[in-house]
Symmetry: C2
């Protein structure tokens, strides 16, 4: 097999990935907003977690995981630090994390992205794969939120509306 011309080419820059992720975070914020207060914390299908719980998971990964990567800290994953009681609690924390994510993401170099890191002492992958996982995990859970909203008779935001 011959080596393809694309083998060592750049797919996207770090700046483009960050913009892409924050665009997704804007959309997830709209999905949180679209839930009525009660259903955000209580509605679920098939024994899955309510969307508030999924939002807490996302908030417990993004900025905290990036900080772990930057600080070389392999502390275990936990959702215990954040126990929101209202939609407003979640949205406020969501917005705070926007700056935290930007702050730590910008401290991760191109070289570091290719190094393996044992995230949360559990997920040993190249750093870029861990970061893709954060974004993918958010899209995945938000897709579940879309089904919850449809089941509640609520029109979800457009998937392509990011900014």
């Amino acid at each position: 097999m011959t080596t393809t011309a694309t083998a060592t080419q750049q797919f996207m820059s770090t700046e483009q990935l960050l913009k892409h992720w924050q665009g997704h975070r804007n959309l997830t914020r709209r999905v949180i907003e679209a839930f009525p207060e009660k259903e955000l914390f209580e509605f679920s299908i098939g024994g899955m977690r309510p969307f508030a719980k999924l939002a807490v998971e996302l908030i417990s990964i993004g900025g905290i995981a990036l900080k772990g990567i930057v600080d070389n800290n392999m502390e275990a994953y936990t959702e215990e630090g954040f126990n929101p009681k209202t939609k407003e609690d979640i949205l406020k924390k969501w917005d705070e994390e926007t700056g935290v994510i930007n702050h730590y993401f910008n401290q991760i170099s191109e070289e570091r992205l290719q190094e393996t890191f044992n995230l949360f002492g559990q997920y040993e992958f190249p750093v870029y794969e861990n970061i893709l996982y954060f974004v993918d995990n958010e899209i995945h859970h938000r897709g579940q939120g879309y089904v919850y909203l449809r089941a509640l008779g609520i029109e979800p935001p457009f998937f392509w509306e990011r900014f």
Copy 2:
């Protein structure tokens, strides 16, 4: 504001993106397989499309969209070319598309990824953003498939199982 050090750094290579996408496609294939034949084509929640329809959408984008990018062809999006009647029809086409995606993806250069293309005569974005959209859209719809499976009492495949 000062320019950050990361502004012109590579997040990931084209090869890494392709591997990442094909890993997601493997997982989506497992989700298709997990549905009972009848429910794949009929089950839905909140008026959404059954998972077979979502799979047809994904099959109608990936390889066809990449070919459009490579050929500079802005023909409109259509799902008319593929009308599966069985799960086996979908899985067979899914596997054929794996090679089609590899074939066309590898013809897209680093420079081309940054150029704007009017995909399907409708989505005018940089090529790398269009390709991210294909992957994101797959994760999004597959997340909906996870809810369908849970609602049917079926355990979905692990999200992190890609190869």
